[in-house]
Symmetry: C2
């Protein structure tokens, strides 16, 4: 009997140590419930609401977390905490998110942490989506063997995260904007409104805009044919891959241009910080990381001040769950 | 009598806590001896040897330190330690310096720390010149009110130093190369051999090379006339200033071009690190910092991702002694 009581107490303690993570993206919300060792016990994924406002997004996030908790055999209120990785301007100390451009009606500031604490009945911490994904790779993924890493998330935009000497570096709260490091003064227009940012060449959104522009001007490409054939409304990383597999010249040109910008911007960052490793994640990063590793390293090495010992470059290994796992780690910092 | 003995013991302890600092530059060696509060008790400055090898440079450094110690009423062996700020590739753990391009015969690796310990009879630590100057500004100069700073030393080249959350960030030993962050892919040739680095536009050496090129091609300028008149063999910051005061168009163009590159590169660094403040030092930085603060901020703000709250920008306040003071702080880290 003693043993049974102990086992049950142990199990209760274990359950109380479960944590939730929510990765809030522009197209999907991914949630996960993890044990203290980072093992995923339950997960769920839903579409991000495309209308309404922050309250509706928060409600959808809570629902998706409830689903993951159910799969893990628990409920949100029993979790020791839920972390959130969010786009936009995140204030970790207050849990507010400001100006999340890709989310509906989210131009102002919303108290996301408070709203979720109320909905879930447990503590909530909010961090930057790319930063927490970097922390996940550092603790549980491709960055485990290093002490200092730069996470580069190559997707719709290009985001960055930093771990220096084992600790997240957030600056005044907005560090890691590697996508807006300049690679070409007075260069291409960036979705952020400025000119010459790395993202203006490498971000999926910017690549698509440039493909449309050149296509309109008569450049031959099957990119948009493939998009319609596969019933997409934008050039996803999968569409780009199909076009590359078919030796589509415009696709090749634009991916090469993206790789040049990535290599240049990453080299600039490494010249400044001299980190041990660069972890390449994001939709395009994961899909093309291995395929374009050699040209990426070549472009990077052109600009590395210490090209005799470039940093290690690794593709992120946690996949689509990385963001949610990293968010849950906000309770392990 | 008791009081006298105590006073003398106290004085001995005080003297034992004195530290030395040596700033090793391409044209001069500046030394200083400081009390534990950072007050300079003695200093000396000599020309850097222009021939011979690292041994000769080390001997000159030891001599200059001896002179500063003498002025402070002590001798090198009585100091608790001597710090050195050196150009080239510095290994702090071994005190070696590799490939100091501006110093005579210093292409290989030289055990500078060991050589100086032998010559001076006290402990010696060697750090990167720009990093220790940044640390001096952080602890005793223009950066005192901030927790995280980027030091930008605008001189013959453009060097950088980092203090993050109160601590020096060295990366794998070569962090801070802000001068080799790229501002223009496939841009101007940099003294480092690469293309498009910030230093290729903003470094004094690169500015002079461009001035010579344009002058040869027929551009009007009094820069070289002023140089000869003031008996210089290069365009010093003072010569640039005289030309600007006389509204020399080429000088104005090239300084503006340098400011554009500086603003762009610093903005990139701030987007990545989100530091609280930027400290602008170096020969050109100190001479032109206030004069060009407004255009510099304007160029920087063009590229700042968070342009709603730019970092503070301050001109370095420790002057020519900053490097030597910072070097002595290697014993206070």
């Amino acid at each position: 009997m003693g043993r049974n009581v102990t086992a049950r107490a142990h199990r209760l303690r274990e359950m109380a140590d479960l944590r939730g993570g929510i990765d809030l993206g522009g197209t999907k919300i991914q949630t996960a419930v993890l044990d203290p060792r980072g093992k995923v016990l339950g997960e769920a994924r839903i579409q991000t609401p495309i209308s309404g406002g922050p309250e509706d997004v928060a409600a959808a996030m809570a629902e998706a977390l409830r689903e993951a908790a159910g799969e893990a055999g628990t409920e949100p209120a029993a979790l020791s905490g839920v972390g959130v990785g969010s786009p936009g301007g995140v204030d970790e100390s207050t849990g507010t998110v400001t100006g999340a451009r890709n989310l509906p009606g989210w131009n102002g500031t919303f108290e996301l942490g408070n709203a979720l604490e109320e909905a879930l009945g447990t503590k909530v911490r909010v961090g930057n989506d790319v930063q927490v994904a970097t922390e996940a790779e550092f603790h549980l993924g491709a960055g485990q063997e290093f002490g200092s890493i730069l996470g580069v998330f190559w997707g719709t935009g290009v985001g960055g995260g930093l771990i220096l000497d084992g600790k997240p570096w957030l600056g005044r709260g907005a560090a890691g904007e590697i996508g807006h490091m300049v690679v070409q003064r007075d260069g291409a227009k960036c979705p952020c409104g400025r000119r010459g940012c790395m993202e203006a060449y490498a971000g999926r959104a910017a690549m698509e805009a440039e493909a449309r522009r050149q296509h309109k001007e008569g450049a031959k490409t099957d990119l948009f044919k493939l998009m319609r054939k596969h019933d997409r409304d934008r050039l996803t990383s999968g569409i780009w891959e199909r076009a590359l597999d078919a030796n589509d010249h415009l696709a090749e040109d634009l991916v090469h241009r993206a790789i040049e910008a990535l290599g240049t911007g990453v080299a600039s960052a490494v010249n400044l910080l001299d980190v041990e490793a660069v972890i390449l994640g994001g939709g395009l990063g994961v899909r093309f990381g291995e395929r374009y590793m050699e040209p990426l390293m070549r472009e990077m090495n052109k600009h590395l001040f210490r090209d005799d010992r470039p940093p290690a470059v690794r593709v992120a290994s946690l996949g689509d769950l990385g963001g949610a796992i990293g968010a849950s780690l906000l309770f392990a910092r």
